[in-house]
Subunit: 471 residues, 4 copies
């Protein structure tokens, strides 16, 4: 569910966004919304507000509470309109310059922009724009969108926006704030979620997940639809679909891991979906065992489903330490599996002599998983059976998720049996792709490219491998 | 289990201690041990080490990771001998001066001292020492112990220590570091835990809980016994019982809430004890319901036991946000139950139309509990049945736990029925005192004063009420 | 000489720049150079270095020592080529985004740019570029220069640069770093200084003032000439004058106040110039007095000249407190002239019953000056005669100096007599414009617009008043 | 005058104190007073106030502005009574624990205590108190005084204090705050200054120097006399002399270097005294020269006197950089005299071909002085004549000044000629002891031990050499 939970062995969501229109404390609501979306990005946060005279912004590296913890910071962000962003960034580009929302002056107006996603044609666009004289101050895709708007020959702001969005290809759930409007937009395939809510006193709230609406007591109104542009201004809300319809490709991994369990995702309850994933996993990959133990917190919900389906007792046999610190010095006489040990400790009384099923949501490199299996054995488990409530992740994501290169993914080049051998489990079982689709009740059209290799959009050259077009 | 988990509605542990003797990286091991004990105190941390020439110390307010996160800090704490402390402090005395270990020069030697507990005769001792010319720089009980040692007419260090400990009354698990020895001591009734472990290369580790031994890969050797003084020096380990034997009064609340579930407490597995508490609660206070939902994280383990015993599905219907921040500004148009909402959000899909049993480990003031019941109802629960895996807490603790005054404890002046009415539950059920003792397998002698009012040691005047002597 | 010295009653220099080429510790030399130039800007500092693979940068708000005080910060700035910048910013735009050097990717290359000056055609350029689709992330003029380069149709980097510089009008002393060259350029009128030096082992150093060369032990080679572009690359140094020659308009206020006294400015010794200003002032505006007291530190040197010329004893009758703090809370029962008092205190023994000449370099609003006169009287001065070693400042600067609006300048709408009356002096005397030119030995062509109103370049519309063209 | 000024080659004052009684903003006045006394100690600062219910304190390492710069900090220090302290500490004991005022509970009352001085019998007292069971949390002498008070058998607070002060030997100017009184005391020989002032609305202010009175607009009332105890309480001011009279031994170095030039010290104007020292030096040690250049800032005032007396032009030929930073990294290819160069730069125009007299107030180790002479020569000086406005410092101070050990003092084992040779001056001249006494108008009784070796009080064993008793 979050960075704190994943020991370096999960895919990572890249961003969460929130926007507020028409509330006297718009920035405070954004602050709270970002807190609720913190699991979508822990390396930076920012808010841009329009205070009636100018855009105000504050951005910083770190958690929302660190960036906005000081009352004086919030006091600088006056106004009834604001957008916010939380961000996870890959190493090397975690500079402050890349923390969003980006705030620029373009096309004669001040613009704040916050973006959750990834553009597959970014390298080509960057080259093209550069040749036309664009200068870049960040390495983020977001800057490209504003460049395209600024260069549009269209007169109307909306047309500039449509023209710019028509040029970008990939995954984008986008918020854009100008002095007189708040724009929410979602790519035609709808990779990343984006929902619309309203508070009791009429303020509009747009957010990546419904859990952000809950915290600010905004009622869920509807999803921003794939390919839809929603414009909120002083006249109210306008929505239109300027792009040709495309098959929906919502990210199935949002259901599996990224979204918070209390979020309603594309009309479904994430918690219940994960229980069903566990139940389906039990059907496909049962185990003879004495106890089901989740890897906390990512495996907890599906382990509940798994255990219930097989009527095996469910136990929190691995205890998490929630107090994470940035730096611990390991003694030179090494502690085995130090990194994992800082965060997890087994409860031997639940494990000694037991046949243990350990459940997690995914395996990325396999190294953490191997440490956990070893930890369970050292705590006395007689057998360790590994069950993953998803299919093997065989390919990277190009649509807004931070994943390792393909050759770092253990499932890209190893059979399930080889993986089981590597992690040292007595048995291993993954959910099938079909089983996954059934559990998530696929009447939406999901992207499952990281499992199936069927990438819905070709990725352009630019450091990342060219992929076969699909769909 | 910890400050982060309790929303102001739990008793709070006051301290955790760890000591290391004979390891080249003694401070690093202390640092890790304190990380494992972080749940016992989040307001301050400190380490004192002996580097062969002098005592070095670093102490600070905040979490262990904040206080010791910088490599340079650890580099100042050289030496093979060190003790550490984490601390929770009540408001008003959270000054840096009170953060332990205390480091003083007394009786001709440098002394570091770290203390988990509370002295009931502190006010009288303070007055007596003051009349004899003692000056006090802290308001902590710990300083009193060193004053008593310094004034002892005994020649030998050990005798000074015994004389001093013979004067203090109450709960104390104590670590003391001098240039040539590490002392661990526990009060005769044994209120607070203290365990002894050893690393593979022979270093001694003493800690409040076994989970600290686990992280530094020290094997558990034995408990420091009630009334025992253990002295570790260059000749090895010496132990003796200088005080008259007394009935053991180990704190039952350590099992119920304070200790980490993965700790072995007084020979028992805390996790399993909590499951048994839930099972026993199910026997005594069953409910007709569709789902069992714990208050995370404190109610999770007993809820698992409760649900299993009654064969009702267990669901994490309340989701915790682990990213806690020190300060959030609430919008002026108030969000209902703001404080709780920052940390908990219900999963409506699991609750709508359901008869819900919500399980927690205790109720202190009742206000948080009321908010949670309200939150569940708003999320659609048809019925809310509250079950507490402990008896009503009717009195404060005087032995090292931070509790509100008696009149703030809702159970001190309200019947169970009145409490149920206050929190708005459809039904309410507490565990009986006898049931609790059975679940924790009481062959040890437990202190249950906060439930029963049977205080094992009289409390002296000094701001706190005089109590009847018991036992 | 610096912000610390001026009590809000001086014009303020806007920037200092330094660049190093061909030294293994280029960033360290920049750091030292910025320290020497700290008086030219105290609100922000930055360094960009090229480490052979990419541009590295660190920028921050505050003093050089605060921004670069941590060893780890400097360690990130590897490479043999670096440029640095110190900056003063006007209120409201002191955001981190505006701290230089600016680092961008443009025209297919990474560029770092640091700029001392002010472009008078910035508003028009900004509008024009905006219409062409440029997006702006800062409000600084510097960004405009890179936009112009990025849009140039020229192929060669140098031609792009010349084309861009040909479009900008105003004051600019500029450093530009790319992966393979260091560029230093100065506007055709030469408003701001820029000097070239070389270390014993052959590294090139370019800096705003010679005092920066002194600290890094670079020998002064020559000034970058007005209108000259100097390019240093692996082949050595190339210089050319691509722009039509114009009359030189070097800023006379650099001599009067901005430059450090130990700097050689345009071939002259600043300290000696200031002594001559004082001597000339003594000729033009003598006084019958017992003691000459400077306003420290800005008036010290000219006061020495004044006192010597009239053979009146020179005394430091006003003592400065060098420990300046950002915030002091004034008691509600107000201390008279609180702000000035925090920094200056009179020595009554030197003043009681004396006829005092107090010397400063300029009067801006007159309020601080009035407080100083009052302070001297309260300390017992029998008479206070104010002498200013410059002509009255009647107009703002548009060429890189931060000055108040015209109507805030006391001399813009008051006669000298009225000013004397306002500040409460027994007499007042300014230096004449002719006297000033003589003292600074004007064979260079100086800009004296703030005294004479003869602005050498018209200022375009954009918030500032249109001015008559001169020269 | 201060740490910032001295390049490691000056004696250093150890402390400054300020106390306020009867002002609604007592802490704010203390804050300002400490700012004025900042030159007496830059390594730590603290304030203790009595808010009617308890003592509040804030202490920290660093400059006054850093320690008290946040409004919230000051808000915690309510009350009409407060004392403050600035401190310089020797390396190794600069821990926070030693920052004053010390705040303790002793003898039944809360006490804040701030101390400027040094006790020569501290080691013996510490040993004696330790044997009686005292515990020490600091290594400062100040703690000893409170221990002595706490152990006094006297009943009345005043008698406890007198008894305690009667036991200590050495230099002490002391402030003590209890809930109902402010005490100011000065040792019988009166080594350190302490003055009494009063604000217009009747509040009492006690401070180390009159410059602190000036800033808070308190009128100077009188000095606290040597051996006097002044008690201010709700009834007013009481003063008494409980100790036998002793010859006055006020520190002559306060006049020479420590005190601010604008301070009135023991009835004299420090600035004027320093001018007289320069004049007398001119008489005793004239030079044939073209220019007199002071080492800023310590040599400026006496250089003015010296230059005037010999009618040689006075020039600020060495320019100071006031922006001091804690850490600068020197390039590996070393810059000559790096440390000095960061702070001083010569003005070659004033020096080339000139016979230069350079004036400073003292030479400690001689190394800095040597660098300055070298710097002047490299800047072109034809001759460099060194003049010191004090006699050679041949011995350390034991009365509250931080001085190196005797063998580090260049004058302790070298003749004046040898010193001149070491520093590389063409000639060298010190003031005579008799000349110094004449210049400071010695009708007070001054301690000149560091020049004459006549130590007024024997120093006890304890790490420092035993010295012959004098007087």
């Amino acid at each position: 569910m979050s960075d704190l939970h994943d020991f370096g062995d999960h895919f990572r969501d890249e961003c969460g966004v929130v926007g507020v229109w028409g509330h006297r404390e718009a920035s405070t609501l954004c602050h709270l919304g970002l807190h609720a979306l913190q699991h979508r990005g822990q390396e930076g946060a920012g808010i841009v507000s329009w205070d009636g005279e100018g855009m105000r912004s504050h951005r910083g590296r770190g958690l929302v509470a660190d960036v906005f913890g000081r009352r004086s910071r919030m006091a600088e962000l006056q106004g009834e309109r604001a957008i916010g962003h939380v961000r996870y960034s890959t190493a090397g580009t975690s500079s402050l310059a890349n923390v969003q929302p980006l705030q620029v002056t373009a096309a004669g107006t001040e613009i704040g922009i916050a973006h959750n996603g990834n553009l597959v044609n970014a390298p080509a666009l960057r080259e093209e724009l550069s040749e036309l004289g664009a200068i870049f101050q960040t390495t983020s895709d977001t800057e490209l969108i504003v460049h395209l708007m600024a260069r549009s020959r269209q007169k109307a702001f909306t047309n500039k926006l449509v023209e710019a969005l028509g040029r970008i290809v990939g995954a984008w759930s986008l918020l854009l704030l100008t002095p007189d409007r708040l724009v929410a937009a979602r790519d035609p395939m709808g990779f990343r979620p984006l929902v619309l809510g309203r508070t009791a006193d009429g303020a509009w709230v747009v957010a990546s997940e419904t859990c952000a609406l809950d915290l600010v007591e905004a009622a869920y109104v509807r999803d921003v639809e794939p390919g839809e542009i929603v414009i909120i201004d002083s006249l109210g809300l306008t929505a239109f679909h300027p792009f040709p319809a495309q098959p929906q490709k919502q990210c199935v991994f949002e259901h599996l891991y990224f979204a918070r369990p209390d979020t309603q995702l594309w009309g479904q309850d994430v918690y219940s979906t994960r229980v069903r994933l566990g139940e389906r996993l039990a059907q496909e990959q049962p185990a003879e065992a004495d106890v089901v133990v989740p890897v906390p917190d990512s495996g907890v919900t599906s382990a509940i489903g798994y255990a219930a389906a097989l009527n095996i007792p469910f136990s929190l046999g691995l205890i998490r330490n929630h107090y994470v610190g940035r730096s611990f010095i390991e003694p030179t006489q090494r502690i085995r599996d130090f990194g994992v040990k800082l965060k997890l400790n087994p409860v031997p009384g639940l494990l000694v002599g037991k046949r243990v099923v350990v459940v997690d949501d995914s395996i990325v490199r396999g190294t953490t998983c191997r440490k956990i299996v070893r930890m369970l054995r050292r705590a006395g488990a007689a057998e360790v059976h590994l069950r993953i409530a998803a299919p093997p992740t065989t390919g990277p994501c190009f649509y807004g998720i931070d994943t390792p290169n393909r050759d770092e993914l253990i499932a890209s080049s190893n059979s399930v049996g080889e993986i089981g051998h590597f992690v040292g489990a007595d048995s291993i079982g993954y959910l099938s792709i079909a089983g996954m689709h059934e559990a998530v009740a696929d009447d939406h059209g999901y992207c499952d490219a990281c499992f199936s290799g069927r990438y819905p959009i070709e990725v352009e050259h630019g450091g990342r491998p060219q992929l076969a077009l699909f769909d």
